[in-house]
Symmetry: C2
Subunit: 146 residues, 2 copies
């Protein structure tokens, strides 16, 4: 399996400022790499060992941040003409590996909860629109989740 970084995906380390009263964790600034406009921000949780399976947004750019728990993301590129067509990329995000994952449109994505409590923030460039996403079941895209 080819594991080159998929064209258009960014992984951007984020600052964490620790303080005895409580910390500050950066998420996104409008001047950051990967910012594609603001349409909507929402949280997703994913239970331990559950996989929220394959979804491809046709227009939305996702900016994903995990402030709690640990989430494994798997991205798959089936774009015609992409230099990384056929590649899978895996990313594990958590407060201990604190970074923002930017997923451009037309990339398939699934994610799995690793810890007891897992929280994901998506800062998207569009408001949610059911018609701009396609779905496949977990079994429809073969990946070694082990």
């Amino acid at each position: 399996m080819d594991t080159k970084r998929i064209e258009g995906i960014l992984l951007t380390p984020l600052k964490q400022i620790f303080h005895p009263q409580g910390d500050v964790f950066h998420a996104m600034k409008k001047s950051d790499a990967g910012f594609a406009g603001f349409g909507e921000a929402y949280f997703s949780t994913v239970r331990q060992n559950e996989i929220k399976a394959w979804k491809k947004h046709t227009q939305m750019t996702l900016n994903l941040i995990v402030p709690l728990g640990k989430i494994r993301f798997v991205a798959w590129d089936d774009r015609e003409g992409s230099s990384t067509r056929g590649c899978f990329n895996e990313f594990v995000l958590s407060p201990q590996n604190y970074a923002r994952l930017t997923i451009p449109p037309m990339i398939w994505l699934a994610f799995e909860g690793i810890d007891d409590n897992n929280l994901l923030l998506n800062i998207a460039n569009l408001e949610h629109l059911a018609t701009e996403a396609e779905r496949k079941t977990l079994a429809e895209i073969l990946y070694q989740w082990e």
Copy 2:
């Protein structure tokens, strides 16, 4: 003490979509009341019984969401000419009382951690700029924190 809702503060209930694999909690859409543009999103944590004391942003509109734990916010209006000058407002946000709190510029704000783990997302219309915020210690603004 007058407890009228401070002029310009909004409390907007947010949708929670429950699912066996993991939930989706709304945070903000660009078409929502209270959206004042996107500059930066960041997380703050606040430890149990700690109070992050008084701060007044002179330009930033805050949009505050609590996806984990429970946080008490206290706002104080000392704006000249405001119809609610002198008022304090208290709000307790949590996933059980899930809403977005919009704080306009020039309002003093402090917040206290109630649960073991408390997480706050701020969707701000400006990138962080140390010079646009003023601070006071907890004792400088008298409030019955009990």
